[in-house]
Amino acid sequence: MRYPWLRLAIFVCGCLFPIWWLYEAAMGLLGPDPGKIMVDRLGLGALVFLLITLSMTPLQRLTGWSGWIVVRRQLGLWCFAYIVLHMTAYMVFILGLDWGQFGVELRKRPYIIVGALGFLGLLALAVTSNRYSQRRLGARWKKLHRLVYVILGLGLLHFLWIVRSDLKEWAVYAAIGVFLLVLRIPPVWRRVPRLVGRGRAA
């Protein structure tokens, strides 16, 4: 396995945040409504992991270092893990495990529908993230995993529809997301320079 320490560091980071938040909640540091804060932080954490995952390819292009691509799958799986926790926290702390109400929300609330679609997309990507699926799907695997761009769009829309009065935070994440997508448009991508490692065997 290449870059074992880098992989381990990312793994520890991914675990540490939710554990740290749970500790804060247990110590009463999250205020009177910690459930809501957990839901928000897990959702935002998933978005951050998604954006980091999508920066790996451009970073590899810029630096020529293959380590970025090696950790990409793990980062994507962390995004999925945070979304699973985000939905669990929503069920427990916001809906009080009222599944009937969840059915109502799924039918009535556009932002829940968009979020659920994003989750289904992530689920498909997570399930097919192993080598076996990659081999089996062959060229179709790459096509399927372009779904990540749609998922980013759904996630940002879900986030936008929760905003009540101030767009600043959303605008920052949306700008980063749009930047990462624009980079991938072929005429733009061709102009992305290789800053280091020019001339090394590709």
Partner: protein, 337 residues
């Protein structure tokens, strides 16, 4: 590197008595003696009772507030079988977008608000319009403690002991004309002291505006508050003067009021202007009419811990149906949300 090991007899900088207190020790002594003497008088001693609630941060109340507090009617309205929300939660979990969009922002940023001196304009369809200094405006009224449930439109709730006086008494003083049908309130607009108003991304059109129908405003439950938890209002809770309408969602209870106008037409309120399909003019607490983005059938009564979630059913008119339901007979509450 110089490592200083303090001797056990050394004083820390934090332990040094501030000079102002050191120099005023005689005043303190005198005040202490006077206090003891007052305490010996049974009636006056009771009035000076300070911390009725646990862990209440002491404020710096203006003189007029302390004068009013001495004659306050404590527990004029109470709620039975409900625990009062801890002071820390009621003052550190707020929506006050003038000071930022997050729940902790108001507590962190509202220190910049200058509440003294404060002036208030009363205008529109009234016989006695005018601009008042806050202490003059308050003068005619006796403070009452009203312990009310507060239900936020975001599906969380608290129980808060307010100190205020009925809005109806104010209306009697300013004498609405026959044309007056609504009352309109306006919050301070001051980007210098209100960072939220400086944000280029805020969707709110400042200043914040709220309103009530005149008969709603006359209901004895509607009050103007100047204090809570036995002290003056902390800035993040809407100092120095706010509205409290307990049967409506919290956003109706406008904070830091600088203008009260009696008007003939229904005023355009802030949230109504921002998202008319989500926030109506009435905004009565109603478990059967959902917010488009979430259910209003249940609420999280704060504090609601991770390991002890406190989710409960929301009551019609927030439990004040007996007092206010008659205001809305014949009105379709589904349309007039």
């Amino acid at each position: 590197m110089l490592i200083k090991l303090p001797r056990s007899s050394d004083c820390k900088a934090s332990q040094i008595t501030p000079e102002s207190i050191y120099f005023s020790r005689r005043t303190l002594l005198g005040a202490g003696l006077a206090g003891a003497a007052l305490g010996a008088l049974p009636r006056l001693g009771a009035a000076a009772e300070m911390s009725r609630y646990a862990d209440v941060e002491a404020g710096a109340a203006p003189g007029w507030f302390n004068d009013k507090l001495a004659s306050a009617r404590w527990q004029a309205v109470t709620v039975s079988g409900e625990a009062i929300t801890p002071f820390k939660d009621a003052t550190h979990y707020n929506n006050f977008y003038e000071f930022g969009p997050d729940k902790g922002d108001p507590a962190a940023n509202a220190g910049s608000l200058k509440t003294e001196p404060w002036s208030l304009v009363v205008d529109g369809e009234v016989a006695k319009p005018g601009r008042y200094a806050l202490e003059d405006f308050i003068k005619p009224y006796q403070l009452e403690e009203r312990i009310y449930r507060l239900r936020c439109v975001e599906a969380w709730s608290m129980v808060i002991p307010w100190l205020g006086f009925p809005l109806a008494e104010v209306l009697k003083q300013v004498e609405p004309t026959s044309k007056a049908r609504y009352i309109r309130f306006e919050t301070l607009e001051d980007p210098k002291s209100m960072p939220g108003q400086r944000s280029g991304f805020a969707l709110i059109d400042w200043p914040y505006v709220e309103g009530l129908r005149l008969d709603e405003a006359m209901n004895p439950l509607a009050i103007l508050a100047v204090g809570m938890y036995g002290r003056e209002l902390p800035n993040q809770n809407g100092a120095p003067l706010r509205l409290v309408v307990p049967w409506k969602y919290g956003f109706k209870s406008i904070k830091s009021i600088v203008r009260i106008s009696l008007v003939a037409e229904q005023p355009q309120t802030t949230w109504q202007g921002l998202a008319p399909d989500e926030y109506g003019f009435y905004a009565n607490v109603n478990p059967t009419v959902d917010h488009p983005r979430w259910t209003q059938a249940r609420e999280r009564r704060l504090p609601s811990g991770l390991f002890s979630p406190n989710v409960r059913d929301t009551l019609m008119f927030n439990g004040y149906a007996d007092e206010v339901a008659s205001l809305y007979t014949g009105l379709d509450l589904r349309k007039n949300y």
